[in-house]
């Protein structure tokens, strides 16, 4: 089973890298981009085949290491 973990900055936490990308897109004449937020994608190959156990395990990984929950949120996607 594969897991994808998306780690993003919480709302209200300033994302200077996202802002810089937003400005660069505007400078390249891409119109209509209201906001850019940058995050991380972490892919895991898991030996676990039970989705619920896998999700709980990955959530524990996020809490302990993959995300800093002071400033970041995470979402988990599972795929076979």
């Amino acid at each position: 089973m594969k897991a994808r973990v998306y780690v993003t900055l919480k709302n209200g936490v300033l994302d200077p890298q996202g802002k810089a990308i937003e400005h660069a897109l505007s400078a390249l004449d891409f119109q209509g981009v209201d906001q850019v937020r940058q995050g991380k994608l972490i892919e895991l190959d898991l030996s676990e085949s039970d989705p619920e156990l896998a999700r709980n395990n990955v959530a524990a990984m996020c809490e302990k290491l993959l995300a800093n929950t002071v400033i970041e949120n995470y979402t988990i996607e599972l795929a076979d």
């Binding site: 936490v13 200077p16 290491l65 002071v70 400033i71």
Partner: protein, 229 residues
């Protein structure tokens, strides 16, 4: 005062702080590799600056989970003073020994220059040799020094006297222009609740010898020497 300096792969200020500790205390610090699960009893633990584990994942994140940090967290819980400088501060927030987080500098640039800091209080192990409100000049050198905590947390830290240093103008005024990295409320360093753990982004060990252009940073080490000997 016997100190331990924790050395991670990618630490690069470990020897600077080793020299400063040796010069100030006259006692050779013990250098402890990150894979150690234990080390001799010491009066002070220092987490030095650098780029531990190449700043992989987040600055300080990997180091905060290393073998030696379990022992550091345990000793900090028993009241052993811990000083985290720059990357050491990042390791302390990641390990949960200090509140908040250190994010990418607001201007996205690596900042390497001298800044002015206000000593918020002389009432600590780390600052007793300074005056409350004293302005000192200390170098910063970091990419991720933008201190963040929620508004309620910041109020709580201020109420408890847990703000150690703020970025200020030379006259001591707290201005946005004096804030090099976008830190909340110009915060450059914070204590834990018992003020036995201090983390700060500036490098006092880099200005602790007249040959290096000043000794404003030396006070932190003489404070510790007076408090811990």
């Amino acid at each position: 005062m016997k100190a331990a300096v924790i050395v991670f792969p990618g630490s690069n200020c470990d020897r600077d702080v080793q020299v400063t500790l040796r010069d100030v205390s006259g006692v050779e610090p013990v250098m402890v590799w990150h894979k150690e699960s234990s080390f001799e009893d010491v009066d002070l633990i220092v987490l030095p600056g650098g780029f531990s584990y190449g700043d992989y994942l987040r600055s300080g994140a990997m180091a905060s989970k290393s073998q030696v940090m379990r022992e550091v967290v345990k000793r900090a819980g028993n009241g052993v003073p811990v000083l985290g400088i720059c990357n050491g501060f990042q390791v302390l927030t990641e390990s949960g020994l200090l509140p908040g987080a250190l994010m990418r500098n607001a201007n996205l640039k690596f900042i390497c220059k001298d800044v002015h800091l206000k000593v918020e209080s002389s009432q600590s192990l780390f600052t007793s040799a300074y005056e409350t409100g004293q302005v000192v000049r200390i170098p910063v050198a970091h990419h991720d020094g933008n201190y963040f905590a929620g508004e309620e947390e910041l109020d709580r830290l201020e109420g408890n006297g847990q703000i150690a240093f703020r970025y200020v103008e030379q006259d001591g005024s707290v201005e946005a222009a004096a804030n090099p990295n976008g830190s909340a409320r110009n915060i450059a360093g914070v204590y834990n609740e018992t003020k036995t753990v201090l983390g700060l982004m500036p490098h006092p060990e880099r200005l602790a010898d007249p040959q290096l252009g000043g000794i404003d940073g030396k006070g932190m080490f003489t404070s510790l020497l007076e408090s811990l000997s």
